[in-house]
Amino acid sequence: MIEIVNLRHRAGEFRLTVDLTIAGDEYFVLLGKTGCGKTLLLECLSGLRRCDEGTSIKINGRDITLAEPRERSIGYVPQEGALFSHLNVHENIAFALRVAHVSKKDIGTQVIQIADLLGIAHLLNRAVKGLSGGERQRVALARALIRKPSMLLLDEPVSALDETTRDAVCKELLKIQREMKIPVVHVCHSLDEATMLADRVAIMRAGSIVQTGTLDTLFRFPRDEYVARMMRIDNILSGDLSARGNLSVNGFELSEKPVNGSRQFIINPHLVRVTKSNAPVRMGSNVMRGTVREMHRRGPVTGIVVEGPLVLTLFARPDEIEDMGVAKGKELSVAFPGQAIHMLKEGGISPPNPPQGDLEGIDRENIHRL
């Protein structure tokens, strides 16, 4: 288990403030745009940068806040692998063992073991120059894992790879994490990677963590607009109050009331459905009549954008679309349940370190998994 309490670090004008707890067998993804401090955080965790007073970092109960990088038992794979170009693949992987003066025989065995695990045993005698992107990353991983560290830190490990390779490497990352049973902190800016790998995700912005939770939680109950956009939620709306005190957009009244003075909310697109009902629409019933403005493929499903008093996106499979006869320009009705509506906290940057578990009662996830 990794306990990060009050980690603070200043780099010029930039401030890093993080509190995080990661379970011992968790694949944890840190999602954030470039410049949000993800790499800085990894460098602080690995001991390459010294944190400010008051920071506490513990791995499995052992306090490593002031420890040197080599004492922390951490595997670190920086962006682009940073392989040692003066050594071949075998020597790269064996590096940590040689520093620890492990016997040559043992080195040989262990290198082959980890190379097999990562499927790179056939590359052992190759020079680093001339390896493909995927091969380089695998070598970097093998190198980081050979001493069986207590934690694996990955900085955008697959960002530079083409999609097929990326998928393959991600599969392997998951496999390794499950087999070696170590916590992984994987930093990236791609929601797809998070979707493929994460047990839990933290959204990071300007040096602090905005929200933490499973992907499902973050998708259904994003904290604010920033998180909603990171999760690629389509229906982010802003409304007023109706006469009855409900949320209302362009005169269209919804069934829910705003919470805590915020007028921003999302409507979960996965809960929006096309209805066949032709009955007149009641106000506050969450049924809207509109025209199909456009349709776009999103992987296995198609997104339908319906324009009425609100602009709503919903998803349907191609066969469903055919059945319903949905096409561009067609008029139809869509409906959604009240629980599809989720209020967002207004105001861009959230205060640092929102205490986990206390997100105005909306957060329903239990963070401390042991």
């Binding site: 080599r70 682009e80 940073a82 040692f84 001493r147």
Partner: protein, 279 residues
């Protein structure tokens, strides 16, 4: 511009440059008489001078590189206020005329004599130390190395520093997470990766030391058979009007330098006829 025009255009300045150098060498060769070359090259004085030149330039290169590597690393990696000042100080050694370097060294040693008679005890002690150093270097062979060193080391630092500048610190970081202390990371990763740059710096430093004259004659004197290096020999021959012998010696230096530079280049992996051999 036709396809061939670009390489031709860029080859012209190169041709002019190398052509001029070749022409000067050819002119030198045609100026000397065969008899001059033989008599000059076989004289005992010259052989001693040549061996001394090779020895001192080699030692200077070694010392320069040993000092330049950590200095360049510190300048490149450590961020501290005043780094720019230190950088400039080293560049000053290149900018300032070599003669001034030589004279300044003598002036420094003179200070030792003046300090020695100071009533202030630490100053007097420092003076004594400097005096002792003066006896070690002035008009002695060690003085040759001293003068060569101050003129060679800034080049080595420049080249090696830019090598470290181009090296991403990430590789050193990874080495640290894999169990290295900073020192170990330096020796196991940074140094091997900087191989090429260090070698280039060493070649430059050697070339400088080999061809240096002014400050050597000032600090170590131009003492026949003792502190006479090849450049000094050339000076002495020309100073009595023996231009032919002077030129013959210059050609000797050109020949030795060509051999060594070519050997070093091939040794570092480039073949004689173009192209790179992977080492």
């Amino acid at each position: 511009m036709s396809k061939k025009a670009f390489p031709i255009l860029f080859s012209i300045p190169l041709a002019i440059l190398t052509g001029a150098i070749a022409l000067i060498i050819v002119a030198d060769i045609s100026y000397v008489h065969k008899s001059d070359i033989v008599s000059t090259l076989l004289s005992r004085d010259i052989i001693t001078s040549m061996i001394l030149t090779l020895e001192t330039s080699a030692i200077t290169t070694l010392i320069s590189v040993i000092i330049a590597i950590p200095s360049a690393y510190a300048l490149s990696r450590f961020k501290f206020p005043g780094a720019i000042v230190l950088d400039t100080l080293i560049d000053l050694l290149i900018v300032v005329p070599v003669l001034v370097v030589g004279v300044s060294i003598l002036v420094f040693f003179r200070m030792g004599f003046l300090l020695e008679s100071s009533p202030f005890l630490p100053a007097a002690l420092a003076g004594k130390v400097i005096q002792w150093l003066a006896d070690v270097f002035i008009y002695q062979r060690a003085g040759i190395v001293l003068a060569q060193f101050f003129c060679s080391v800034p080049f080595a630092v420049r080249v090696i520093k830019s090598t470290f500048d181009d090296m991403s610190p990430r590789t050193e970081h990874v080495a640290q997470t894999l169990g290295c202390s900073r020192m170990q990371a330096f020796f196991r990763v940074s140094l091997p990766l900087a191989r090429q740059g260090i070698f280039a710096g060493a070649v430059l430093a050697w070339a400088r030391a080999f061809g240096l004259f002014g400050p050597i004659s000032i600090v170590a004197g131009a003492v026949r058979q003792k502190t006479e290096v090849l450049s000094t020999s050339i000076f002495l021959e020309i100073s009595i009007g023996q231009l032919e012998r002077g030129i013959a010696l210059s050609l000797l230096m050109v020949a030795i330098a060509s051999l060594i530079l070519l050997a070093l280049r091939i040794g570092s992996g480039r073949t004689l006829f173009g192209g790179n051999v992977q080492v």
